[in-house]
């Protein structure tokens, strides 16, 4: 038995790291006395896994967790009980139970949507910049890699949808995960190639709205029926 749940990590809690988030969730599950299943071995710990890490400082509204269970629990109860033991800033939004064998979150999630606060003072140019981004076939950016040489890649082919959100933020649906990954700061580098007036954008100007699974022509969430039915 496994529960997959969607959660958000926002406000001050955007400043805790991925590992700290894992510890926070584990302890909250213990406090809430939820039927999490422990791993075997010398240092037993919950079989809990998360979707792709958020950079420290960036809030996220559609993050996911998988937790193996030893007993069935109604997803609403799971969310309610766990939320009662989580610090403000992390909230479990919804969950689904399954007996099926699922691919891990990090293996299945391949899309992320980032919202960026408008980086130009003059909003009237927003649409032009975004249109130019869309029209390009190739936007080459340099990726800095730790302990490795820099690498160039075509950002454009990993940006799948470019829009303006209702609140004016710029929205980018990009590849994420092991089969191709766009870093938020690389989106900025791409934008700067189109409009040199766009300055550096701190991570906190971004918001990771959600993580998705691409099943062309559909874009699914990790909680969608097609995904929860297993492979």
């Amino acid at each position: 038995m496994l529960i997959r749940a969607k959660f958000r990590k926002e406000k001050r809690l955007r400043y805790i790291s991925h590992l700290q988030l894992l510890d926070t969730l584990r302890r909250a599950i213990r406090r809430a006395d939820l039927p999490g299943k422990y791993s075997e071995g010398y240092n037993p710990t919950f079989n809990l896994s998360l979707s792709q890490p958020l950079p420290v400082g960036m809030p996220g509204g559609g993050e996911y967790l998988d937790l193996e269970l030893t007993a069935e629990i109604r997803p609403e109860d799971f969310c309610r009980r766990l939320n009662g033991y989580l610090p403000r800033g992390i909230e479990i939004l919804q969950g689904r139970l399954t007996e099926n064998k699922l691919k891990s979150l990090q293996a299945v999630v391949d899309r992320a949507r980032y919202l960026l606060l408008p980086p130009l003072n003059d909003d009237s140019r927003a649409e032009a910049v975004l249109q130019e981004f869309r029209n390009k076939k190739e936007i080459i950016v340099i990726r800095k890699r730790r302990n490795k040489s820099d690498r160039c890649y075509n950002l454009r082919e990993m940006v799948h949808k470019i829009e303006t959100a209702a609140d004016g933020r710029w929205s980018f649906l990009v590849s994420t995960g092991s089969r191709g990954n766009v870093r938020p700061e690389e989106i900025v580098k791409g934008l700067q190639q189109i409009d040199s007036e766009i300055g550096e954008q701190p991570l906190i100007n971004f918001y990771r709205e959600g993580l998705y699974v691409s099943r062309p022509p559909k874009l699914l969430t990790p909680l969608a029926d097609e995904i929860m039915e297993g492979e």
């Binding site: 805790i16 599950i29 406090r31 422990y38 610090p87």
Partner: protein
Amino acid sequence: MTNVFSEIDDSLYQVESPERYIGREWNQIKKDWEETEIRTCLAFPDTYEIGMSHLGLKLLYHRLNQEEDILCERVFAPWTDMEKLLKKKGLHLYSLENKRELLDFDLLGFTLQYELSYTTILNMLNLGGLPLRSAERDNSHPLVIAGGAIVFNPEPLAPFIDLFYLGEAERDIIRLVRRYQELSDSGCSREQILRELSELPGIYVPSLYQPVYQQGNLESLKVEQGVKPRVSRQYIEDLDQAFYPTNFIVPYADIVHNRAVIEISRGCQRGCRFCAAGMSYRPARERSVETILNLAEGIISSTGYDEISLTSLSSMDYSRIEELVTRLADRFAGQNVSISLPSLRIDEFSLKIAREVQRVRRSGLTFAPEAGTQRLRNIINKGVREEDLFRAVRSAFESGWHRIKLYFMLGLPGEEEEDLAGITRLAKKTAEIGRQIRRETSRKMRRIEVQVNVSTFIPKPFTPFQWYEMESLRAIREKIEYLQQHLTGRSLSLDWNDPETSRLEALLARGDRRLAPVLEQVWQRGSRLEGWSEQVDYNRWQQVLKEFSLSVEDFFAGRETDAPLPWDHLYTGVDKDFLRQEWQRARSGKETPDCRWSACSSCGICGSPRSGLELARDKEEAASHAD
């Protein structure tokens, strides 16, 4: 008053470990600022991770917040990057709960945990917007108090702190806070308030005591009329009944002790003559097994921790340790909670307990013989025999440990070359025992490692060695070199604490008020966070001392036992005559046994012999007799 956090929130991604500065951990207590009458803040002069590993701070935090009309918040020293950010934004240091500037509080309490944090205290006062010196502050500023493990010689800090609390503050911190509020409500001046507060037991107001120096020596102490000439340490008599929280804050950061910490006993009577804590935390007091089990239950369910750590100065001396460990292990077996014992003694019994727990990490085990020969161990009263050590390490290797750390001190009174040779001999023999067991065992065992760690002995106040001199830097360096040359071979490694840093620690531990302007000056030139090796600048200290016509050596000389000491007006409860007698016995190589298992040694802490001791074993026996 500004809302500091809203101005810095969006910039925190620029600093390392921003979670240090956000608060909002599970179990944090954030009270309504406007609705709460008395506002206090506990300040720890080091980073969040270090401060949140400190039990005393948490005890006081929860004790103060237990009172409905008092709020207590926390502040830690910002790392250098955060200090820069605060300054760049023109902001003051703020508390983690309500994010208020330190200036907004009625009372600010610093923890004195180690001497090298003194410059950080000055830095925090400054970052908080407070004048450094007590004399420059008035009722518009919070009352600045301090206390903790090293409060017994607070003299170098005297001009900066309004009052010190000597002893275990959870005993009457509430009384102090309420009295202060009463006095400031009645419109008294800061001076009057301090004078009144000085009447409370355990309260030391340094401005009411003026040392007189003569030719570089302390001559006497002028005490203002009507002020008590001697301040006595306060302590909890019945630890079992004493306050202990269960709703501990659960930090996000991976702090040193991110687990359920239960203090099973306080004080130690072993009487190691170098140990300041062993002398100044007497008498030994224990919590009962029942109380500890209840606390464990409460902490585990409130925090969600999966590890319980039993802490005390010497856990193995707990009179019911076997029963305690067994019952804890039974109780939590089904909940995947492990138990750890941080301070193991050198004997087989300790290992038996460790095996029983079966969750003590197998990677390394630490033993502290402290000295290389029996002669020197007698001098320091470390009641460990060589046979004990070898039997214990044998047992440890046989139980599967492969790495053993051995701790020693250099510069102890009476130390000679044979003692250094003794260190290498003990280490080599330990390695040999390990290798032999590894050869003969059928089990898979990792390579044997014996790590020797040496540190410079510091003759600390209120120990029998307080009259002894601090060894010169050259002599210590030569001893380290000797060990480097002789402690070679398979499975052996040597590590040492920086002797210059030890000298700074000694300087502040043994120093007097002449060091206050020195402290201020080194801080001004950039010293802070000196508990971190990369932040210590020994040369800067030497330079500043020179400018004040002082030197480190001025504070390191040996003293006659009748010469006045800078801390003579403070009293830990252990008599100076006992310390003199112990110093005498040390010099003739005589041991003094632990009074828990032998006769009273008349240290002065108990009214009548052994009456202050409070052991779980005795209590149970008393209870069973009553039945």
